[in-house]
């Protein structure tokens, strides 16, 4: 690994995965050569000269693609076909969900790392693109919802009456969900959250929000592990509860996901129909099928006087911040990769999808068909 190459991302992508600061670190700390396509980050207001100042060589797309032995990218590289030469490709390919994306690399001497597969351990956090993007997306989701919501988020007691605070329901309290909770609370909304993992209960409360849970003895009994052993009755109760809380809410932020699987359906059409006009649903699980039945991935629709945003890439709307974090994540990963000496390295093994043209990741070999 000597020459790192980056080419422009596809049109829809606003983020970049290497900023001048980290580029210069790659060059200085890791003694790598960095080649970048001209005009790479112009849309972010970062000129080519900023990269040149950092020691990067700016070249044409074709040059970069042919010269670099390691390619960094966020999305699949348009017009790139792996050849016979030893190549490393690092990106966020979500191949667990799109197994067809692996095909073109098979048998090609190419090694592919997909950063979304990094284990979610404490050690890997500095390279964890899912965390950093989810975090920004969660923040953005609330701003987005507030933008569509034609009423006020905080309470306003005024001489002309009181505007009630918005009621926000967050489904899924992972990184994105927690950030959404925090942002909505900051804006003065009344926030409730739901998740199947019982450990999130404390986490939700630690942000001052209410955790929605099925009441009664059931809960206590199953506490600690009901994500696994959910009885039929329990599931039904849970569903009713979500229906009920959603009906009451003005904003629903959906973030529930199951890695590599279709996202769980939490807001059935009937529930959406029962919601107040003017309410807003932001479904961040849209790409994985959505938590809401009416979501259309990548689109913002009006359904029944409700606004339903289906967007799994909200971080793209905060492109500066997102690029900053991505750039750090990629740099940390590269550094780890270069400095790794161990034979079997958990982080690398997990994030490697294809090793020299062979699928090495058991997650993909075991169940290649989409679930």
């Amino acid at each position: 690994m000597k020459t790192i190459g980056l080419v422009k991302e596809p049109e829809f992508e606003t983020r970049v995965c290497l900023l001048p600061k980290e580029a210069s670190l790659l060059i200085k700390q890791l003694s790598l050569e960095v080649l970048i396509e001209e005009g790479y980050a112009k849309h972010l207001g970062i000129s080519d000269s900023a990269y040149v100042d950092a020691g990067v060589k700016m070249q044409s797309r074709a040059e970069v693609l042919s010269t670099a032995d390691t390619l960094l990218t966020i999305n699949e590289i348009e017009g790139f076909t792996p050849g016979e030469e030893q190549r490393v490709l690092i990106g966020i390919f979500n191949m667990l969900f799109y197994p067809e994306r692996t095909e073109k690399y098979l048998g090609k001497n190419t090694t592919v790392y997909s950063l979304d597969l990094l284990p979610r351990t404490t050690l890997a956090q500095s390279m964890d693109v899912l965390s950093s993007m989810a975090s920004i997306a969660g923040y953005r989701a609330v701003l987005k919802a507030a933008g569509y919501y034609e009423n006020s988020f905080p309470m306003f007691t005024t001489a002309a009456g009181t505007l009630t605070p918005a009621k926000v329901l967050v489904l899924g309290a992972g990184v994105a969900g927690l950030q959404a909770i925090a942002t909505a609370r900051r804006l003065g909304a009344v926030v409730e959250a739901f998740d199947v993992r019982s450990s999130t209960k404390e986490e939700v409360r630690s942000l001052g929000a209410k955790f929605v849970e099925v009441e009664g003895a059931q809960e206590a009994k199953d506490a600690g592990g009901y994500a696994i052993a959910q009885s039929e009755e329990f599931l039904k109760k849970q569903k009713e509860l979500i229906h009920d809380r959603a009906r009451n809410a003005n904003i629903v932020i959906c973030t529930a996901n199951i890695p590599g699987k279709k996202a769980p359906l939490l807001l059935a059409k009937a529930t959406v129909d029962a919601m107040n006009p003017g309410s807003v649903i932001v479904d961040m699980a849209a790409e994985q099928g959505g938590n809401c039945e009416v979501t259309e991935a990548g689109k913002t629709i009006t359904y029944n006087e409700l606004t339903v945003v289906g967007d799994s890439h909200l971080a793209r709307e905060v492109s500066q911040a997102a690029s900053q974090l991505l750039s750090a994540n990629y740099f940390n990963f590269l550094k780890y990769l270069v400095q790794s000496t161990k034979e079997e390295d958990l982080l690398l093994d997990k994030s490697r999808v294809i090793g020299n043209g062979v699928i090495t990741n058991p997650l993909l070999t075991d169940k290649p068909e989409r679930v």
Binding site: P154, M155, F156, T157, T158, A159, A160, G161, T162, L163, P165, G188, V190, G208
Partner: protein
């Protein structure tokens, strides 16, 4: 027999001590009162036992018994009947009684002393006891009159000057007597001194402002204690000495503490100098009542339903976090605390919402004005933190006021109102506030942040 008496007095002394000790913590205060009372009963019993060894004429016994029964019954009746607000007067009255007892004792004893051969030490103690008792007696009576509204302040030069002369006389007379320059008997000297001291007690208290009376009562109480101790020396009675000294010493410290709590110096209190309220700059004279932090804390601790009305001053003081803390503290004692947000409180719509959200106060504790206005009388205490215009009753009842017609939070209807502000400056609308002069309203001056912090500190002690 004598041993029993000794032990009894010892136990009485210890129980006074324990009683006082217990009384200084809110949790054990009632126990303390009982302990001290039991000690007192014991002391009296011991006295009777001691008397048994002598032969006391029946008449005397009857007189004693009747007097004790009468005193006890009347005292109990008075204590039962008195209203909460009239308690300070009553304490003053009782203290006066104690002082009166000391004077009479001195007078009678002076007569006895006059008979036997003179013992200068004894006589000195007697005269001292007489004087202190007399000052306490008449001073307390005047203090009672003032508190009951029957006596007016008098700071006339005559009074002040007279008091100096009398004090001089009190010091001079015994001196002259003892060096033998006074050609009258000890008895007469004592009588004269008693009368002078009685008058002195009157002129001593007369110039002092009504608001300072509690301090004065405490001081007089301390003086009674000293008189008691002196009498104790005369009779060689340990219970009297210790009880008297406890009260004397405790009373003086208490007096100083009370001054400190009122932010006044004892000297100024005694000189009758009244603290200039910042109100005095105002042309309109409003009869406002100040309240201390501890009284506010006491009110809050008694209340079971409290409303907090925040206003712009809370924001200026940036005291929202303390406000939240106060609410939590009170909630822990199962006090209901509602925040009433007036629509135009603060300087922008939703100003108070921002503050209270920052302090993490649950929306459920926020009440809208309209929701509670019909119900204000149910609040035991309303705490107004830096609000002014929004609670000004002029908006309801003064058609000439520029804010007439504006809806207000009817804080004035509640049982007690405490307003926290820094001085007497007006609110945004620039009109003076009639609420401040109302009977159920008191003002707690100071920056809202400081005041809240102090209230919280005091509440924590209870």
């Amino acid at each position: 027999m004598n041993v029993l008496v000794d032990v009894g007095y010892l136990i009485a002394t210890v129980s006074f001590l324990g009683g006082l000790k217990f009384m200084s913590s809110p949790k054990s205060a009632r126990l303390g009162n009982s302990v001290a009372a039991i000690g007192m009963i014991l002391a009296v019993l011991c006295t009777f036992i001691a008397l048994k060894t002598q032969t006391v004429p029946t008449t005397n016994i009857i007189v004693i018994a009747v007097a004790i029964v009468l005193g006890t019954v009347i005292g109990k009746l008075m204590a039962d009947k008195v209203e909460m607000t009239a308690m300070p007067q009553l304490i003053s009255l009782f203290n006066g009684a104690g002082g009166g007892c000391a004077v009479l004792l001195g007078v009678v004893e002076a007569k006895q002393q006059g008979i036997g051969d003179p013992n200068i030490g004894m006589q000195l103690l007697l005269l001292l006891g007489l004087v202190t008792g007399a000052v306490a007696a008449s001073g307390s009576a005047i203090a009672y009159g003032k508190l009951a509204g029957k006596t007016k302040d008098n700071k006339g030069a005559a009074v002040v000057f007279g008091s100096r002369i009398l004090l001089g006389l009190i010091l001079l007379l015994p001196l002259l007597y003892f060096v033998g320059l006074l050609p009258i008997s000890f008895e007469s000297t004592a009588y004269a001194l008693a009368i002078i001291a009685l008058v002195y007690g009157v002129v001593f208290v007369l110039p002092i402002g009504g608001a300072d009376m509690p301090v004065v009562i405490s001081l007089l109480n301390s003086i009674t204690g000293i008189a008691t101790a002196l009498a104790g020396f005369v009779y060689g009675n340990k219970a009297m000495i210790s009880g008297g000294i406890f009260v004397g010493a405790a009373g003086i410290l208490l007096t100083l503490l009370m001054c400190k709590a009122m932010n006044r110096s004892l000297i100024k209190v005694l000189a009758g100098k009244f603290k200039k309220t910042k109100a005095s700059a105002d042309t309109e004279v409003q009869n406002i009542k100040e309240i201390t932090v501890s009284e506010t804390a006491m009110q809050l601790s008694f209340a079971s339903k409290i409303a907090i009305i925040p206003g712009y001053g809370l924001a200026v003081a940036q005291a929202q976090h303390l406000c939240g803390q106060l609410q939590q503290l009170l909630a822990k004692r199962e006090t209901q605390v509602d925040f009433i947000i007036h629509p135009v409180a603060g300087r922008m719509p939703g100003h108070m919402n921002v503050l209270l959200a920052e302090a993490n106060i649950d929306y459920e504790h926020l009440k809208e004005m309209d929701e509670v206005n019909s119900d204000m009388a149910h609040y035991d205490t309303v705490l107004i933190i830096g609000a002014n215009d929004v609670v000004n009753p002029a908006a309801e009842n003064n058609p000439d006021s520029p804010i007439f017609g504006m809806p207000i939070v009817k804080a004035y209807q509640s049982k007690q109102v405490v307003v926290m502000k820094r001085g007497m400056s007006k609110g945004y609308a620039g009109v003076s506030n009639d609420l401040f002069g109302m009977d159920n309203c008191s003002l707690l001056f100071g920056d809202a942040k400081d005041s809240l912090q102090n209230i919280i500190n005091q509440l924590k002690l209870i």
